[in-house]
Each structure stands twice: as C-alpha cells, then as structure tokens.
C-alpha cells in the first residue's frame, strides 16, 4: 500500500491532504444536514425523508470514494498531472440543487 510512505507525492504544501480534508468537511456537513433533516421528521412527516436520503447518500458517496480519490491525486501530483474531477463536482452540485428543490416542495406543501 502506498500509504506506508508518509509523503508519497513530495509536495511540501500537502495539496492532496488539504483537498481530502475539504471533501471530509463537506461530508461531515452533509451528515450534519442529514441528522438535522431527521430531527424535523415530526414537523414535516414522511417527505423530509427524501432530503435525508439525498444528503446521507451524498455523504456516503464521498466517504466511499475518499481513499481512491486521495490516492489518485497523490499519485497524479507526483507526476505533475491531475485531471480535473468534473463528475465529482457535477454530482455534488446536483445534490445541493436537489436538496433545495425538495426543500421548497416540502415547505410549500407542508
């Protein structure tokens, strides 16, 4: 495993680590939002579970891809070439838009 080497990419700015931590913070924010949506289940009823599903699903997706993403970036930085992660950006933004749309539907119908 590459993780035996404490600094596999040799970048003193630790860019892959900082980026992995940024994804981790975003994941925690999504988990917090999930818990928050569940907390309002008694007020909104069943529809709020859709928001819970989207935010918890997005958090899980980030969690499951953290390792491979970090490894690809650390490896890419060592070779001075990292491809922009367009799918991850689009999916994350889509989750945010879906949460907003579902939230508006829940607020207006509730």
């Amino acid at each position: 495993m590459a993780s035996r080497n404490p600094n596999p990419h040799g970048d003193p700015g630790l860019q892959p680590e900082r980026t992995a931590l940024a994804w981790g913070r975003t994941m925690l924010a999504l988990v917090t939002a999930s818990a928050f949506f569940l907390r309002w289940l008694p007020v909104y009823g069943f529809p709020i579970l859709m928001l819970f599903a989207v935010s918890a699903g997005a958090a899980l997706a980030i969690y499951l891809t953290q390792r491979s993403r970090y490894r690809a970036r650390a490896h890419g930085l060592a070779g001075e070439s990292i491809e922009a992660d367009l799918p991850a950006v689009l999916w994350t933004a889509f989750a945010g838009v879906a949460l907003g749309g579902l939230g508006i539907a829940v607020v207006l119908t509730g």
Partner: protein, 134 residues
C-alpha cells in the same frame, strides 16, 4: 493511442471523458495544485449552500410561533432558493475558473459574491421590516 486535438507533450496525458472535453475544451492541464485549489473553493461554496439549505428548513419548522405564515414560508423559500443558486453557481464558477486556468487567462470575477451578499441583505431586511411592523 492517438490524441489528435492537442500537440503531444513530453508525457501524453490520459484520454479525457466526453463531458470533460465538452465543458473544459482546449488549453492544457493547469498546474495540478491550482486544480486542487479550485476544487477546495468549490467545496467551500457547497458547504455554505448546505448551511443555507438547512437554515431554510429550520426557519419553516422552528419559527411557527414567531412569524406569520407568509413571512415564514417566504424566508424559508428565499433561503432554499439561495442555497440552490449557490450549489449550481459553485459548479459554474468551478468550470469557468478551470477553463481560464487551462487557457492561462485571468480568472473570472465571482458573481456568487454579490449574489450571496444581496440575498443575505434581503433576508435581513425582511426580518427587520417584520419586527418593526409587529
């Protein structure tokens, strides 16, 4: 494997996906550190958006004894709309910054900043008017 669109550099880059070629055409891969920095900025906007989305849901659920229903629903929808715009705007800005960096062009001005500032001021104004008229 051939790469007919770009002059072949010393180390040929891996083939890019179709959506990536569509949204990030031309230019060349920027410094990987810049790509990662752009991604972190995008994630910071996404977290801001999540705070607004959670706030919108909370306003509607939490303030039923405080605000009249139209004010409450209006504020909640305003916050949720702003959260949606921030999420999509963060992706648009990420793409624009990535394009600029690929083409070594100046970075675009952040349209998100006046949007967030304006909407935040509007939400505050709604609350101020409501409190004054109460």
């Amino acid at each position: 494997m051939t790469n007919s669109e770009q002059p072949t550099p010393a180390t040929a880059p891996p083939p890019r996906g179709k959506i990536a070629q569509l949204l990030l055409p031309g230019g060349e891969e920027p410094d990987p550190r810049f790509t990662l920095a752009n991604e972190r900025t995008f994630l910071a906007w996404i977290r801001t958006s999540l705070a607004l989305l959670a706030g919108g849901i909370a306003i509607e659920a939490f303030t039923s004894g405080l605000f009249l229903e139209p004010v409450r629903k209006g504020l909640a929808v305003l916050l949720l709309l702003l959260g949606m715009m921030l999420s999509s705007g963060a992706a648009v800005r990420w793409v624009r910054v990535e394009r600029s960096m690929r083409n070594k062009a100046p970075l675009p001005l952040p349209l998100l900043v006046p949007l967030v500032a304006g909407a935040g001021a509007l939400a505050a104004a709604v609350v101020v008017v409501f409190i004054l008229l109460r």
